[in-house]
C-alpha cells in the first residue's frame, strides 16, 4: 500500500505503482480542459521545501498542487550539504507548526527527506535527495514509457550515463524492474556503482552492446564541470563514447524512444537534433510530470489524518 509518505520507489510495490500511473492517466485530462483546475485539495496547503534549487521540479509540483486547488507555498532555505541535521530538522519543525497538509522535500544529501518525515505530522514527498532517490521522476518516466509503448512488462530499458551519482537512475532501476522490464546500464566504468548487478540489472561499458534491441534509451545528465578529468577524460570523449545520436540509436530497436530527465547538455548526452525531435520524448516527460505529481498529491493527501478518525 502507498504509505503516508513517498520517499522512494524502493518502498513501493507493483500495485502501488500501477495505482499511481492509473490515477495520473485521469489527471492528464484535467490539463486539457479550459479550466485546468479541480476543487479536490481546496483548503489544503502544500509546502515545497527545496534546500537545493530546482526550478523544474518545483514548478511541476507547484502546478500540480494548484490544479488540485491546494495553496502552494515555496520555501527555499539556504542550506548546504554541511548544514547540520539539527538545523534542517529545526526548519522542518518550524514549518510543521504552520500545519501544512503535505511537504515536498529536495535536499542534496541522501536521507534528509526521511529524517524530516520522521519528525513531521504532514506527509513528505521526496523530490530528490542526493544520489538516493527521485521517485516522482521515475514515476513520470514509467508513465511516459507506458503511454508510448502501451506496456512496460517485457521491454528493454537502457540507462546511459552517470549512474553512480544519479538518483534518477536509482529510482528508475527500482521502478522498471518492479514493472517487469529488463534494465541495462551503460557508462564509463567509474560511473557504474559497485555490485549494481545484484539489483538485477546488466551493466555494460560498451554503448553498442547495451543498446542492442533496446525499446527505451534513457540518457542521464552529465555534470561536466564536476567530473571531467576524474570519471572520464573529457566531455568531448564522453560524447564520442556514450553520447546518443541517430547513428548510435540504430543499434536500438527501430521504434525505440529516447528519454532524458533534463536539462540536456546538447551535444553531450544527446545530439542537438535528438534533444528536440522524435524519437525523443523529453517534453512529454515534462508534461506527464504534472499528471504524476497530481496523482501522488491526490493519493498521499487521502491519508492526512494520521491515527485520526477514519
Amino acid at each position: 500500500m502507498i504509505g503516508r509518505d513517498l520517499l522512494g520507489i524502493e518502498d513501493l510495490d507493483r500495485s502501488d505503482i500501477e495505482r499511481i500511473l492509473q490515477t495520473a492517466e485521469h489527471m492528464g485530462e484535467i490539463g486539457e480542459r479550459e479550466v485546468k483546475k479541480v476543487p479536490t485539495l481546496r483548503g489544503r496547503t502544500l509546502v515545497n521545501l527545496f534546500f537545493e534549487p530546482s526550478t523544474r521540479t518545483q514548478t511541476s509540483f507547484e502546478i500540480a498542487g494548484k490544479r488540485l486547488s491546494a495553496d502552494v507555498v515555496n520555501f527555499s532555505p539556504r542550506s548546504s550539504s554541511l548544514t547540520k541535521a539539527e538545523s534542517i530538522l529545526d526548519t522542518a519543525r518550524t514549518l510543521d507548526a504552520m500545519d501544512p497538509d503535505a511537504v515536498v522535500v529536495r535536499h542534496a544529501v541522501a536521507g534528509v527527506p526521511k529524517r524530516i518525515a520522521d519528525v513531521l505530522e504532514a506527509p513528505v514527498i521526496n523530490a530528490g535527495d542526493g544520489a538516493h532517490e527521485h521517485p516522482t521522476q521515475a514515476l513520470l518516466d514509467l508513465f511516459t514509457v507506458r503511454r508510448e509503448k502501451g506496456r512496460i512488462d517485457g521491454l528493454t530499458v537502457t540507462i546511459v550515463g552517470d549512474i553512480v551519482h544519479s538518483r534518477v537512475a536509482r529510482s528508475n532501476i527500482y521502478g522498471f524492474l518492479k514493472m517487469g522490464a529488463e534494465v541495462r546500464l551503460a557508462a564509463p566504468p567509474p560511473m557504474i556503482p559497485a555490485a549494481v548487478e545484484t539489483l538485477g540489472v546488466k551493466a555494460f561499458t560498451s554503448l553498442r552492446e547495451a543498446l542492442d534491441g533496446a525499446d527505451v534509451v534513457m540518457a542521464l545528465r552529465i555534470q561536466n564541470e564536476r567530473f571531467a578529468g576524474s570519471y572520464f577524460p573529457s566531455v568531448r570523449e564522453y560524447a564520442a563514447t556514450f553520447g546518443i545520436d541517430r547513428a548510435t540509436l540504430r543499434y536500438a530497436k527501430d521504434d525505440a524512444i529516447v528519454m532524458h530527465p533534463g536539462p540536456v547538455n546538447r551535444g553531450v548526452e544527446l545530439s542537438h537534433d535528438l534533444a528536440d525531435h522524435r524519437p525523443s520524448v523529453i517534453l512529454d516527460q515534462v508534461r506527464n510530470g504534472v499528471s504524476i505529481r497530481m496523482a501522488v498529491l491526490y493519493l498521499i493527501s487521502g491519508r492526512l489524518h494520521r491515527g485520526g478518525v477514519a
Binding site: 492509473q22 490515477t23 485521469h26 485530462e29 480542459r33 478518525v309
Partner: protein, 210 residues
C-alpha cells in the same frame, strides 16, 4: 435468477430483489428518449453526459434511441465526479478515478446528465460543478434510471425511470458489464460501506460519521 429468495441466510427482509430487468431498462430508456424529444425544442443542442460507471451504458442507449426515433446524432460525454466529491476530506482511502471524456464543448448546449441511481443528490451536485468547469451550458437536466428518494440537496430529476422507495441502508445497483447494457437493477440489503456501488449516497453516509 430474479428470485425472491425467501430463505436468504443473511436474515435480510428481502434478498436481492430485481427492480428492473434488461427488457424493463430498455423500455424505460425508450420512454425517456421520447420524453426528451417531447420537451426539447431544438434537439440539435442536446448533449448527453454520463456519470460513470452506471450512467455510461444508459446514456449510450438513450443516444441510440434518439437516433432511431428522430434520426439525430446526439453527442455522449463521460464525466467522472470523483475529484468534485464533497467527502474527500473525510475518507481515508482515496477513491479510484474514472474516465472523463467530453468530446464536444458544452457551451450553449442542452446538457442532460445521466445516472443510474439517484439518492442524496450529492453526485449530481458534483457533476454540475464539474460540468461548469467545461463551459456554460444553456440548460442542465438530469436523467435518473431510478430515484430512491432520501435527497439531501435540493436536486430534482427531470426524467425518472422508476421511483423506488427504499430504506437508507439498502444498496441499489446496476448489475452487468460496464459499458454494456446487460444485466439488471437489483436491490440488495448490505452494510453501507460494502461493494463498489455507483449509488450517490456513499459520500453522504461516510460524511455523516459512519
Amino acid at each position: 435468477m430474479q428470485e425472491k429468495a425467501p430463505g436468504e441466510p443473511r436474515g435480510a427482509r428481502n434478498g436481492p430483489r430485481t427492480i428492473l430487468d434488461e427488457t424493463g431498462i430498455r423500455r424505460t430508456l425508450m420512454r425517456i428518449a421520447h420524453e426528451i424529444l417531447e420537451r426539447t425544442e431544438d434537439p440539435g443542442l442536446l448533449y448527453l453526459v454520463a456519470i460513470p460507471n452506471g450512467g455510461v451504458p444508459l446514456a449510450r442507449e438513450i443516444a441510440r434511441n434518439l437516433r432511431q426515433i428522430a434520426g439525430i446524432d446526439v453527442a455522449v460525454g463521460i464525466l467522472d465526479t470523483t475529484l468534485y466529491r464533497d467527502d474527500l476530506t473525510t475518507t481515508a482511502e482515496r477513491p479510484l478515478l474514472r474516465l472523463t471524456e467530453m468530446p464536444s464543448a458544452v457551451d450553449g448546449r442542452i446538457v442532460i446528465l445521466v445516472d443510474d441511481v439517484v439518492k442524496t443528490g450529492r453526485t449530481i451536485r458534483a457533476a454540475m460543478d464539474a460540468l461548469m468547469d467545461f463551459g456554460r451550458p444553456q440548460v442542465v437536466q438530469v436523467v435518473g434510471l431510478v430515484d430512491r428518494g432520501h435527497r439531501e440537496l435540493p436536486i430534482k430529476l427531470d426524467y425518472v425511470g422508476k421511483n423506488v422507495p427504499t430504506s437508507p441502508n439498502e444498496n441499489l445497483r446496476l448489475r452487468g458489464d460496464a459499458g454494456e447494457l446487460r444485466g439488471r437493477l437489483e436491490l440488495v440489503l448490505e452494510p453501507s460501506d460494502a461493494a463498489d456501488s455507483d449509488d450517490s449516497s456513499r459520500s453522504a453516509r461516510k460524511g455523516g460519521g459512519a
